[in-house]
Symmetry: C2
Subunit: 122 residues, 2 copies
DNA sequence: TCCATTTCCTTAACATGTTAATTGTTGCGA
DNA sequence: TCGCAACAATTAACATGTTAAGGAAATGGA
């Protein structure tokens, strides 16, 4: 993940914050539980990350009126812009992985890792 | 690594502390630089971990008389005992990995990971 | 001999992973 | 309606990864 972190260093956001934003950009507004799940983050981590992203103005948080225990998170235009601007680079990093291993072996690697930890993916 | 952490939880030491002890158990007394290298740890982390292990009485630290900037670390009998008592379990965890994937695929996985990050190993 | 530079470690500061304890909210049965 | 279990988030407490700044010791050259 080093190359990804390096790419992100200029944006001031971290790998995990990036992951959360990506999920929000892809699926849109969602409740915290789903977000934690799709971002592969534990709740305590998500709480902190969401707070950080909120302070940076990259996401907004809103309470569920029906069940005030719950919360929804949504990406802002600024957050979306960060994603848009760096997605191509991220893709090229993945591409370099494939290039190193070759398409065939890259698929094999993903397969083996998934077999070891089915919950991993991504 | 979850299974390893679980195994270690009863000993009160962490995954990284375990790694440092294992290296010391295998190679014996060595200077900090070499230790950091073999443990795949950055210096700041090693500084803290070594201090923790020292406080727990699992390692001892000594200054190099010729170059007093340097330091040597050595595992104690107590530390050695922890390693000895848990090495079999650790081995069985690795064995379960192999069982999940099969010997052949396990080797393939290690090979692919090494190709992505030659410095990783272990 | 003296100082700038290099080395080896240590500290600091910040973000995260993790487990456990805590604080609000809901919903339900007595 | 009251009280309590279940649930959603937070907060706390530790250990670590990381980058940057500091401090002490050693070194080479003027």
């Amino acid at each position: 993940m080093a190359p990804i972190r390096e790419m992100l260093s200029e944006t001031g956001i971290t790998e995990q914050q990036w992951r959360v934003l990506r999920v929000l950009a892809e699926f849109g507004r969602m409740d915290t539980k789903t977000l934690a799940d799709r971002s592969s983050l534990l709740f305590p981590s998500l709480t902190r990350i969401a707070a950080t992203l909120r302070d940076k103005g990259l996401v907004t948080q809103t309470r569920d009126d029906k069940d005030r225990r719950r919360q929804f998170v949504e990406i802002t235009a600024v957050g979306q812009r960060i994603i848009d601007e760096h997605t191509p680079q991220a893709a090229s990093i993945v591409a370099s992985f494939k290039k190193t291993l070759g398409e065939q072996d890259y698929e094999t690697l993903l397969d083996l890792l998934t077999r070891l930890d089915p919950g991993a993916k991504d």
